[in-house]
C-alpha cells in the first residue's frame, strides 16, 4: 500500500512527461490496484486512547461529481469524526461520509479524517483521484 502511495504521488507529478511502454505498464498495474483499494497515508499525529485502524473508500479514482464513500475504523470511546478535503466537498458526517468533487477539483486530492474524544485525537489521510467529467 505504501508503495502504491509513493508511485501514485510520482505519477501525479510526472503525468505531463512522455511515458515509455515500461512506465505505462507499471502505471496500468498500479491503476488496476487502485480500483480495488484506495491509497492511504498514515499520519502519526495521535494522542489519547484512539487508534485509527483503517481509512478506506469505495471508489478511487472517481469521476467529477460522482460520489465515493469514505469510512474510517477506529478504536476508542465516545469517538467523534472530523473531515477536511483540500478540494471537493462532503455530504453527511460521522464515521462514513460521502465525498464528491466537481470539475474544479480534478486531480489527486487529500482527504483528512480526524478522530477525537475527550482523551485526545488521531488523524489519517487518504488520497483520492478525481477524473474529468468532460473529455473534449
Amino acid at each position: 500500500m505504501e508503495r502504491i502511495n509513493t508511485v501514485t504521488k510520482s505519477f501525479s507529478t510526472r503525468i505531463d512527461k512522455p511515458l515509455d511502454m515500461h512506465k505505462i505498464f507499471i502505471l496500468f498495474i498500479l491503476s488496476t490496484g487502485m480500483f480495488f483499494s484506495c491509497s492511504k497515508e498514515k499520519n502519526d499525529k495521535s494522542t489519547g486512547d484512539i487508534t485509527i485502524q483503517s481509512l478506506t473508500c469505495t471508489v478511487n479514482p472517481v469521476k467529477a461529481w460522482d460520489t465515493t464513500l469514505i469510512t474510517v475504523e477506529a478504536t476508542g470511546s465516545n469517538l467523534q469524526y472530523g473531515w477536511v478535503a483540500n478540494h471537493g466537498d462532503f455530504k453527511g458526517s460521522g464515521k462514513t461520509i460521502k465525498y464528491a468533487a466537481g470539475e474544479c477539483c480534478v486531480g489527486l486530492n487529500t482527504i483528512t479524517c480526524r478522530v477525537f474524544n475527550e482523551t485526545g485525537e488521531s488523524s489519517d489521510t487518504i488520497m483520492i483521484r478525481v477524473t474529468s467529467y468532460y473529455n473534449p
Binding site: 467523534q80 478540494h87 480526524r114
Partner: protein, 314 residues
C-alpha cells in the same frame, strides 16, 4: 428603477460562488476632495444555477445545483488631502449557499475579506470636468475560511473569506461631456497570493476588470449610470503547480444603476449585474444575476466648518 426591475426578469448567468467578497460594481470612484468622508452600506443578492462550458450552456449534468448569496459591505473613504484618499471596506456574508438536488444545502456565513486602498488624485480639472485617479490596494483574508458543519469542513467555494491576500491597482478616469452627462471608465488588476496552509494549497488566477459607463442626470436629484464591464480571471493553480482547467472566466456585464440624492448628502443607489457574454474554462456554474442597494452618507468637513464660521460671524 425600471431598468433595474426589468433586469430581474432577464435570464442571465455569471460566476457562482466566487471566493471572497463579490465585486461591487460602483466601487470604483474617483479620489475624494480633501476632508470629505463617505460611508456606504451595500446589500447584494446574487443567484446562479446554470453550468457553462466555454461560451455556451452545458446541459449534460445529471443533477441541478443552485447557489445564492446574501452579502453586505461597509465602505469608508476619507480625503486626507486634496490628492490622497484612504478607503477601506469590510464584507459580511449572511449566507453563501449551494443547493444540490436531493441533498442538504451547504451554507457558509460570516466575515469575508477586508480591503484597504489608497487613491490618488493625479489630475483634476474642475473646469473641464476631467479627472484621473489611480489607486493601489490590498485585500486581507480577515474572515472565516475554516467553517465547519458537524465537524465537516465546508468547501472553499462557500467559505466567506477567500483565504488569500490580494493586491490591487486601478486607474479611474472620468470626463464631463455635456451639462448633464459624463463618461467614465476604469481598469483594475488584482493579483492573489498563494494560499498555503495545512489543508489548502491554491492560487487564484489574476484578475483584470475594465469598465466604461455613462452618467446622466435625469432630474435634479436623480441620476442614471449605464455601465459595461468586462471581468477576466485567469486559471487557478493547485498542488505541484497543476493548472485548474475548470477555473477562470471572461464575463461581460451590463450594470444599470439609479442614484437618488436626498437632503443632507444622503444617497440611495440601486443597481444590478446582468451578464451579457460569458466564457468559462472547462465546466463551471455560471453567475446568474445580482441585485444591489447602496446607502451612502457624505460628510464634507470643510463645508461644515464654513457654515459654522458663517453662523458665528452672523
Amino acid at each position: 428603477m425600471l431598468l433595474v426591475i426589468l433586469s430581474i426578469g432577464i435570464q442571465s448567468y455569471a460566476q457562482c460562488c466566487a471566493s471572497g467578497n463579490p465585486f461591487i460594481s460602483d466601487a470604483e470612484q474617483p479620489a475624494l476632495q480633501s476632508k470629505v468622508l463617505t460611508a456606504a452600506l451595500t446589500y447584494r443578492y446574487s443567484h446562479s444555477e446554470i453550468f457553462y462550458h466555454d461560451d455556451s450552456r452545458y446541459r449534460d449534468l445529471k443533477f441541478t445545483q443552485t447557489a445564492n448569496v446574501n452579502y453586505t459591505e461597509l465602505q469608508l473613504a476619507y480625503g486626507i488631502t486634496k490628492w490622497l484618499t484612504v478607503m477601506g471596506d469590510l464584507g459580511y456574508f449572511f449566507n453563501k449557499t449551494l443547493h444540490t438536488e436531493g441533498q442538504d444545502p451547504m451554507r457558509g456565513y460570516g466575515l469575508g475579506d477586508a480591503a484597504l486602498y489608497l487613491k490618488f488624485n493625479l489630475y483634476s480639472n474642475a473646469k473641464a470636468r476631467f479627472n484621473i485617479s489611480p489607486s493601489i490596494g490590498m485585500k486581507f483574508p480577515v474572515g472565516v475560511f475554516d467553517q465547519e458543519v458537524d465537524n465537516v469542513k465546508l468547501p472553499i467555494s462557500v467559505q466567506p473569506s477567500s483565504g488569500s491576500f490580494k493586491y490591487l491597482a486601478t486607474v479611474f478616469i472620468s470626463k464631463g461631456i455635456a451639462k448633464k452627462m459624463a463618461i467614465a471608465g476604469f481598469v483594475s488588476y488584482e493579483y492573489a497570493q498563494l494560499i498555503e496552509s495545512e489543508n489548502f494549497y491554491y492560487k487564484y488566477g489574476q484578475q483584470w476588470i475594465g469598465a466604461i459607463y455613462f452618467n446622466y442626470k435625469i432630474i435634479k436629484n436623480l441620476s442614471l449610470d449605464l455601465q459595461m464591464r468586462n471581468e477576466y480571471r485567469a486559471k487557478a493553480t493547485r498542488e505541484n503547480n497543476e493548472i485548474v482547467e475548470s477555473s477562470g472566466y471572461n464575463v461581460t456585464y451590463f450594470t444599470p444603476q439609479l442614484t437618488y440624492a436626498f437632503k443632507y448628502n444622503w444617497y440611495l443607489s440601486a443597481f444590478s449585474d446582468i451578464p451579457v457574454y460569458k466564457y468559462y474554462n472547462g465546466i463551471q456554474m455560471s453567475f446568474g444575476y445580482a441585485l444591489s442597494v447602496r446607502l451612502t452618507k457624505k460628510i464634507d468637513f470643510i463645508a461644515i466648518q464654513t457654515r459654522v464660521k458663517a453662523k458665528k460671524s452672523n
